[in-house]
Structure formats: structure tokens, C-alpha cells
């Protein structure tokens, strides 16, 4: 399908996948723009992999339809959908060298040997594995295998790239490094990428948009900033970063907007400032709400400090960047907490 590179838009239309009586994916509707990096984020069992496999064609929808480039792919088997896939544990062919692994998709497209060799060389260079072509996958480190998997998915130039927890098997440092690599590869090749992860940090760093899934359904779709700053539900607020959900705070919450019915107030821990009760008020004090409480716990984590502060009946988490002239509070200290009234969000309970 040569024309598919022209328009790689993907559309899920009310897609449902049932396993027995369990809906792994339920009534999923979603459209992905060309060139976009979209991340599917959600807790274990929320249907992320299923959604990806539906798109890849390894799983057939029970209901609904999937369109790629405007055409239904219901009748197109996986091996005729033009997609590069990076599998969770890479699925590199263990019986083939790195070079032969990279050649495989080219060979399947009937590309001649000379061009295959040239493209593999170029790609190996691009992923910094120039001297590794003759190795077996098992002779590579985790990060190198990861790069081979990416290279193999990209080499045949498919318009769509699917990634299932591509960095899940790597340790923290390597993961951050590969995130950068992945991002720059995406920018360079301009693919539409759909990436499944349950690492929120990864999702926030990589994506143009994030889909948060829960129990087979979409909870919210938005850009990383919007999702973090304006979560629509309590689930999203809790799932992405930390949140103080003020269910029954024991004090009155002041806010600029009226609280819609069926919602609860929420504030992010880093939006709260902590100060001694006697400390002078800030200049913008009239835009702030302040409450007093007792420090129950202080957790030091390098660049930041985290306080658990009891205010009335609720426990607030406060996160503060460590600065030099700052005072450290201890367990039992009385403190004053303040925040901008505009930082209060209302999320669906």
C-alpha cells in the first residue's frame, strides 16, 4: 500500500474487544493525527496492549471499526498493514544477526540485496551500532537490543510506528537516555507513533498527546501539560503525578470559580507553599488561601522536600524545592500553608 504514506491518520471508531464476558477495550473512539506521538497510559489491565494489538491486526475487534488512512482495515491481515512495531521485549529474531534482523522487513518488501545493505548500514549508523551488525541479539546489552528493535521497526519506512512499553525493560538511567533518542528519532523520521506505557514520566516526556485508559475505556485525552494541569477526573489526577484531593478537608475551600456539582477540589503538592506561622504574608496574599497545620512527616529527596501536613481532618502533601535560605520544618512543627486560589482544580469525583 504505497499510498498510505500520504495520509497515516488512524481512527478507532467505537471499538470494543471482548474476551469472554470481559471487555478488554470498550467503545474506544480515538483519532490520531499524522506525525503525532501519542501515548496510551493506564494501569495494568486497562486495555493498552489490547488497543495496540487491535491496531496491529493481531486481535480482531468484537465491534466497531479501525480506519487507517481513511480506510477500514477490518479485512486487512496484520502482514499487510504497513506498520513498524517495537515489542515489549523487542522480539528480535534470536537466530538471526543484527544485520539480518534489520534486513528482514526489507526482504519481505522485495528490496534487492544491494539496497538492503546500504539501508542497513545507514540505519546502524543512525542508532550508533555500526560495529554490531554481525552480532547475535543475545550478545547485545538491553539498551542495544532496544535500539536494534527501533531500527528494525523504522528501516522499512512504515508510516506508523507502534511501541509496546518500548523502554520497560531498561534501567532508569538508560531509560532516560533512550527517551531522548526515541524523541529525536521520531522527530527525524516524522512517523505517526503510538506508544503504550505505564510509566507516567515517560508519557509526559515523549508525547504530543496522552490517552489515559482505565478499565478498557478512555478517561481523558489531552496534551501532557493540559492533562497534568487540568485533569478532568480524580483518577487522572491521581494517576498522573501526586494530587491532594480535598474530599472532606475540614476547612472551607476558597476558589475563583464556583465548584460544579459532582466534583471535588484538587491541588498539586508543588502549588502549595509552606512557611512558619509567624512569617510575613506575601505581596499577593489577597489572591491566596492560607491554612495552618502540623507537620507529621518530612521526606528529604535530594532536590526536593516533601511534607505531610495535617490540616483539620485532612493530610496535605506539600512539595518544595530545596533552596539555600529555606527553613526546614520537623515533625510536630506548626506551619502555615498557602496557595493561589486559581490553582484549585475541580475534578469529577
Amino acid at each position: 500500500m504505497k499510498n498510505s504514506s500520504v495520509s497515516a491518520q488512524i481512527e478507532f471508531k467505537n471499538v470494543t474487544k471482548m474476551y469472554g464476558t470481559v471487555a478488554a477495550v470498550e467503545n474506544l473512539s480515538l483519532s490520531v493525527r499524522r506525525g503525532e506521538f501519542l501515548t496510551i497510559l493506564g494501569p495494568s489491565g486497562s486495555g493498552k496492549t489490547t488497543a495496540l494489538m487491535l491496531l496491529a491486526g493481531f486481535v480482531a475487534p468484537t465491534e466497531g471499526d479501525i480506519l487507517i488512512a481513511g480506510k477500514s482495515v477490518a479485512a486487512v491481515p496484520s502482514y499487510r498493514r504497513d506498520q513498524g512495531i517495537v515489542f515489549q521485549s523487542y522480539a528480535l529474531f534470536p537466530h538471526l544477526t543484527v544485520r539480518r534482523n534489520l534486513e528482514f522487513p526489507l526482504e519481505m518488501r522485495g528490496i534487492n540485496a544491494a539496497e538492503r545493505a546500504a539501508r542497513v548500514d545507514r540505519m546502524l549508523e543512525r542508532v550508533h551500532l555500526k560495529d554490531y551488525g554481525g552480532r547475535m541479539p543475545s550478545q547485545l546489552s538491553g539498551g542495544q537490543q532496544q535500539r536494534v528493535a527501533l531500527a528494525r521497526a523504522l528501516i522499512a519506512d512504515p508510516p506508523v510506528l507502534l511501541l509496546d512499553e518500548p523502554l520497560g525493560a531498561l534501567d532508569r538511567n538508560l531509560r532516560e537516555q533512550m527517551q531522548g533518542e526515541l524523541k529525536s528519532l521520531h522527530r527525524e523520521f516524522g512517523k505517526t507513533a503510538i506508544c503504550v506505557t505505564h510509566d507516567q514520566e515517560e508519557a509526559l516526556t515523549l508525547s504530543d498527546r496522552i490517552v489515559v485508559m482505565r478499565a478498557g475505556q478512555i478517561e481523558q485525552v489531552d496534551t501532557p501539560e493540559a492533562l497534568y494541569d487540568r485533569p478532568s477526573t480524580r483518577f487522572v489526577a491521581n494517576f498522573l503525578g501526586e494530587a491532594n484531593i480535598l474530599d472532606n478537608p475540614g476547612f472551607k475551600i476558597e476558589s475563583d470559580a464556583a465548584q460544579p456539582a459532582g466534583t471535588v477540589a484538587m491541588i498539586r503538592p508543588e502549588r502549595i507553599c509552606v512557611a512558619a506561622p509567624a512569617a510575613p504574608k506575601r505581596a499577593d496574599g489577597n489572591q491566596r488561601q492560607s491554612v495552618t497545620g502540623t507537620v507529621e512527616d518530612m521526606i528529604y529527596a535530594g532536590s526536593l522536600r516533601k511534607y505531610h501536613v495535617r490540616v483539620g481532618s485532612s493530610m496535605l502533601i506539600v512539595r518544595e524545592h530545596v533552596a539555600s535560605e529555606q527553613r526546614t520544618f520537623r515533625r510536630g512543627d506548626e506551619v502555615r500553608l498557602e496557595w493561589l486560589r486559581s490553582d484549585i482544580r475541580f475534578v469529577i469525583a
Binding site: F58, P77, S138
Partner: protein, 620 residues
């Protein structure tokens, strides 16, 4: 172990609707196969049904006097006191032989697992060699050892312990020795298979919690090894129930087993019922044993992540899987995680005396397994035309007589030809079936697996009688293709077990990866699946060949003297005690397993060296 991660994963592959875009026909067919992988098992079932399964049902109906249905034939059978004696004798002999195998086999397996890595590999190979050696040769070896002018008698005469030869052969004792010798590897190998998978750190943990060595063994190791013990017990006992050659060769008139009786009924050309009734009595005993021992005794088999086994399923035969995987993993051992458990060896820091006793025990067991083979080899160089051990002079005359005798050479080539046909046919058909069924829902897979494995689960004499019936209906008695089909029925089972074990370890995402790169189903199979399961396929082919090359009971029923295979020719010679040419043949057949091991080595180890991690991708 690798198995942990494999079985727990949920299957992700699902059928994909066939292309509606109007392609050429073969593609359509392939897509249908993709949706219905079970269709791949059709050739295997066609053979099984025609040659064996339908006939066995027919025989059963005949034994019940269908369509009128009566138990008259069975009543007649049980009215005869002699029949009951034979039945009980069969059970008794099998039980005693199995018990001896457990008593020798369990400690041996335990000690082999506790040995250092190199020694362990050597010992496993030494257990494998007799397992791969022709059973008839191994029985014949005991005639040489125990005979009136055999090794033992001559030795004792020489030493002046006795003044005239003792009658050591043609009695119950000789039958036990012969049966235990043949079945001991069948007891040890499944035990090894399970014991190798036991995490030795568990025993170490128990010890660290204050358990004495024996308590740690009793409370931790033994329960974990029970699945292997059960497999060994079943394998041994059921094989013993169907024994024919050994009691007929080494036993006296009072040591007849049910299979002897059945063969005599076939030879007497009695009514169908007269053959069918004792066969189904034997089968009934087998099924009772299977369903009693087949019950899950160990609670759950969490170790392998399988659901608890339910009663009558021949999955115990599949317990060879881990051993096969273990052997094929050896090449990648330098980086396989399992070896980290090495430090907590079962024999850990045992006392010196215990180590000595253990060493002697294993040495004796291995000696018992291998010594008869050596005796046959030495015997084959004898210069006397009768059994005498040790030979008073050396010559190559029996080798010469083998190579100059057209009936021997003919029989040899017949067997080789049959073996190759059987290996090719059953490897193709069995691999397809294993592949197809591995992609089928467990509820369908299990009963079908049971059918495929039943020819190697049921006593061979019962299978032989059914196949006789089947080939008779097809008009193929006494033909070469008839024998090929008869051997294929059982060989499919061997191939199926080995290929299934390999497939169970196969990461299906590799196929999805290939498909995402535009490889169609056929290309995916040829380029990805087949290369990765090749070790299993080669192993299956070797065992299929061996199955055919060594088969005697079924062959003797259906060849009706028109086709003479090597085992048949040997069998006649042993019975008529012609001359030691048989020793020359036997000695060559004893060396043969070494050849097989080399084939397997090349097929398994080598392919691992190039594809080290084999079928699973390491996550470092």
C-alpha cells in the same frame, strides 16, 4: 527456569479476518489455516484414525458382541482360572519391576542432579545411551550374562564357587533383571527432568531455617520432585504391563504375561474376540493405573505455572519437555540465569562418607545400565559358534557372517528404509499437528493430545492388535507401506511430544514481529518459527526413526513373515539360538546411540551456539 515466564502469559494472538481483497487461492487457504490452526492436525488424525483409532473401537465393539452387546466373551475370559493367573502375574511382575526401578532410580537421579555440572552432563548422557539402544539387544545381553555358559556361571566356576552351572536364566529373577535394565532410564529421565528444575536455593533456604539435611529433603525436595516420580512410575509401570520380548526371552513358562497370551491368541488365529478381550482387559488395567496415578498428588504444579492436572491426561508424557529444554540449553549455560542456583547444590556440604556412598551408588547404577552392552561387544569377537563368555579366542567371523549373509543385510536395509520413511512421514505430520494444536484452545487441545499420545501410552501389544485390525481392513497386512503406517502411528507421538515441548518455549511475539514486517503466514513459519523449533524437529525425527528401527511387537504381528526387519531377524535368531552373529549386530546397535547423540548434538547444541538464547529473548 524459563518455563516460568512462558506459561503464565496470556495468549495475545487472535484470528484475523481473511482478506476480502480477492487474492490468489493459496493465500486464501493459508488464511483459513491461520484462523483454524487445528486443520494442520488433520493429516496426523487421518493416519491415526484409519490405522489405529477406528479399529480399536471396532475391536472393542466386537469384544462386546455388538450390536447385541453382551459381556459373554469377558465372562468366558474370567471363567478360565489360568487367565486370571496370567492377569495377576502381569500386574505383579510390572509392580515389582517398577518398585525396583524406583528404589534404584530415585537416589540415582537425585545424586546425578547433585553432581557437579560437567559430571552431571556425562551421567545424563550415560543414562541416555541405553535408553536409545535397541531393547532386544539389551535383553539378549542378559542371556549372554546369565546363560548356563554365560559370564556369571563361568566366572563362578572359575573361582570355584560352584561346581556346575546354575540356572540363572529362564526364571522370574532374570525377567526382573531384564525389565529393570530396560526400564530404569525411563524412570530416571523424567525424575531428572523435574529435579533439574527444582530451585536448589529452596533446599538451602530450608536448611537456613534450621531443617536438618534429611528434613529439608523430605519436606522440600521430595514434594517438589513428585511430578517426576509420578511420570517415571506411570511410564515404567505401563510399559511393563505391555512387555512381551523380555519375559518371552528371559522368563520360563511360569512367567508368561498377558501380552504373551495375546500374541499366542493371534498366532492361533482364533476369533476376533479371543484377541480383543485380553487386549481390553490389559487396556482397562492401564487406564485404571493412569487415572489413579494420573491424579494430581502434589497439590498444584505451580512450579511450571500449569493449572493443576486433572485425572486421565497423558500430559505426564510431556514431562520430558523440561529435560529436552535443559539439554538444549546447555550451550547457552554460561549466561543462563539458572546456573546461579548452582551454588546451592542438593548435595551441598554433605559429609565425606555420604559422598562416597553416593558415588558408589551412581557408579553401580551406571555400571548396571552399561555393562551388558560391553558384554555383547566382547561377545561379538568370540571365535566359538555358541554362547560362551568370556570368549576363549577372538575373531571377526561374526561380523563377517553378518556382512556376508544377505538375509542380515537385507533385514538391515529394510529397517533403515522403513525408519527413514517413518521419520519423514511422522516428522512432517507430527510437527504440523503439534504446531496446529499449540494454537488451539486448551479445551480442544487436551483431548486431541490424548488421542495422539495414546499409541505410545497404551501397551504396545494393544496398539499392535488394533493396527493389525486396521491394516487388515485396508488390505495392507504384510506390505511395506502397512508397516510404515503402523510405525508412524507411534512415531507421531514421539515427534509431537518433542516438538510441543519446543513450541511451549517459543515466543509467539516473534511471529507477530515477522508479520508486522509484512511476512505472510507461510514465510513467517519458514523463516522464523521453523528455524527456531528446528532442534525439536530434528530430535523428533531421530526418535521417530528409532521408534521404527527398534519396533518389534507390532511389526511381528503385521509383517506375517513377508517383510523381515532387523529386529524381527534378531528375534528369530535369539529364539532359535543360531549363532553369535546376533552379538555382532547387537554390538553395532549398541554403538549406534553414540551416533544418535552426535546427530542430536549437532542438531541441538550447534543451533544453540549460533542462536544462543534460542527461543526466548533475554531481558538483561
Amino acid at each position: 527456569m524459563e518455563t516460568l515466564q512462558k506459561t503464565g502469559r496470556k495468549p495475545i494472538t487472535r484470528a484475523v479476518p481473511a482478506s476480502a481483497m480477492g487474492r490468489i487461492r493459496p493465500v486464501e487457504t493459508l488464511q483459513k489455516l491461520r484462523r483454524m490452526p487445528i486443520l494442520l492436525s488433520v493429516p496426523a488424525f487421518a493416519i491415526l484414525l484409519a490405522v489405529y483409532a477406528i479399529p480399536i473401537v471396532e475391536l472393542f465393539l466386537a469384544s462386546l458382541d455388538a450390536p447385541s452387546f453382551s459381556l459373554a466373551h469377558y465372562r468366558e475370559f474370567f471363567a478360565e482360572g489360568a487367565n486370571i493367573t496370567v492377569l495377576f502375574q502381569t500386574i505383579e511382575i510390572s509392580a515389582v519391576a517398577t518398585a525396583i526401578c524406583v528404589i534404584i532410580g530415585y537416589p540415582t537421579a537425585y545424586l546425578i542432579v547433585a553432581a557437579s555440572k560437567r559430571l552431571r552432563i556425562v551421567l545424563i548422557v550415560l543414562v541416555f545411551i541405553p535408553w536409545l539402544t535397541n531393547g532386544l539387544v539389551r535383553t539378549y545381553a542378559w542371556v549372554v550374562i546369565l546363560g548356563d555358559r554365560g559370564l556369571l556361571n563361568n566366572l563362578m566356576l572359575e573361582l570355584g564357587l560352584i561346581s556346575s552351572p546354575l540356572h540363572l536364566v529362564y526364571n522370574r529373577m532374570a525377567v526382573y533383571i531384564g525389565m529393570v535394565h530396560i526400564m530404569l532410564p525411563a524412570m530416571i529421565l523424567p525424575l531428572l527432568s523435574v529435579m533439574l528444575g527444582i530451585d536448589k536455593s529452596l533446599v538451602a533456604a530450608a536448611r537456613s531455617m534450621g531443617a536438618r539435611p534429611f528434613v529439608a529433603f523430605w519436606r522440600v525436595f521430595l514434594p517438589l520432585s513428585l511430578p517426576g516420580l509420578r511420570s517415571g512410575l506411570l511410564l515404567t509401570f505401563i510399559f511393563c504391563l505391555g512387555f512381551y520380548i523380555t519375559p518371552a526371552t528371559l522368563g520360563g513358562l511360569n512367567d508368561a504375561m498377558l501380552s504373551t497370551f495375546i500374541v499366542s491368541q493371534v498366532e492361533a488365529v482364533g476369533s476376533v474376540a479371543s484377541v480383543a478381550v485380553p487386549s481390553f482387559v490389559l487396556l482397562a488395567v492401564t487406564i485404571v493405573v493412569l487415572s489413579v496415578l494420573g491424579l494430581d498428588l502434589s497439590g498444584n504444579q505451580g512450579r511450571e505455572g500449569q493449572p493443576a492436572q486433572t485425572s486421565f491426561r497423558p500430559s505426564w508424557l510431556l514431562s520430558f519437555g523440561p529435560l529436552i529444554r535443559y539439554l538444549s540449553e546447555l550451550a547457552a549455560s554460561h549466561r543462563a540465569k539458572r546456573w546461579t542456583a548452582e551454588r546451592y547444590k542438593a548435595g551441598g556440604n554433605s559429609r565425606r562418607s555420604a559422598k562416597t556412598v553416593g558415588g558408589v551408588w551412581v557408579a553401580l547404577a551406571i555400571f548396571f545400565l552399561l555393562f551388558p552392552g560391553f558384554v555383547v561387544m566382547i561377545m561379538s569377537f568370540s571365535d566359538k559358534p555358541y554362547l560362551e563368555f568370556p570368549p576363549s579366542g577372538l575373531s571377526l567371523q561374526w561380523y563377517r557372517s553378518f556382512f556376508n549373509d544377505p538375509s542380515w543385510i537385507g533385514a538391515f536395509w529394510t529397517s533403515v528404509q522403513l525408519g527413514i520413511w517413518v521419520a519423514v512421514l511422522s516428522t512432517i505430520v507430527g510437527t504440523l499437528a503439534a504446531y496446529g494444536l499449540s494454537r488451539t484452545h486448551p479445551r480442544v487441545r487436551r483431548p486431541l493430545t490424548m488421542v495422539i499420545l495414546s499409541p505410545i501410552t497404551f501397551p504396545s501389544i494393544v496398539v499392535g492388535v488394533s493396527v493389525y485390525q486396521g491394516l487388515f481392513a485396508l488390505g495392507m497386512i504384510g506390505t511395506q507401506s502397512g508397516i510404515i503406517l503402523a510405525h508412524t502411528v507411534g512415531a507421531i507421538g514421539s515427534v509431537f511430544i518433542i516438538v510441543s515441548a519446543t513450541l511451549a518455549n517459543f515466543d509467539r511475539r516473534l511471529e507477530q514481529a515477522a508479520q508486522s514486517m509484512r511476512a505472510g503466514p507461510l514465510r513467517t513459519f519458514m523463516r522464523v518459527t521453523l528455524p527456531l523449533i528446528r532442534p525439536g524437529v530434528i530430535g523428533g525425527a531421530v526418535f521417530a526413526f528409532l521408534h521404527s528401527f527398534d519396533e518389534l511387537v507390532i511389526t511381528s504381528l503385521i509383517s506375517v513373515f513377508s517383510i523381515r526387519t532387523l529386529p524381527l531377524k534378531m528375534w528369530e535368531d535369539i529364539r532359535n539360538q543360531i549363532d553369535p552373529t546376533i552379538a555382532a549386530v547387537g554390538s553395532m546397535l549398541t554403538v549406534l546411540p553414540v551416533l544418535w547423540l552426535i546427530v542430536l548434538y549437532v542438531g541441538w547444541w550447534r543451533s544453540r551456539l549460533t542462536a544462543q538464547s534460542g527461543v526466548s529473548v533475554p531481558t538483561t
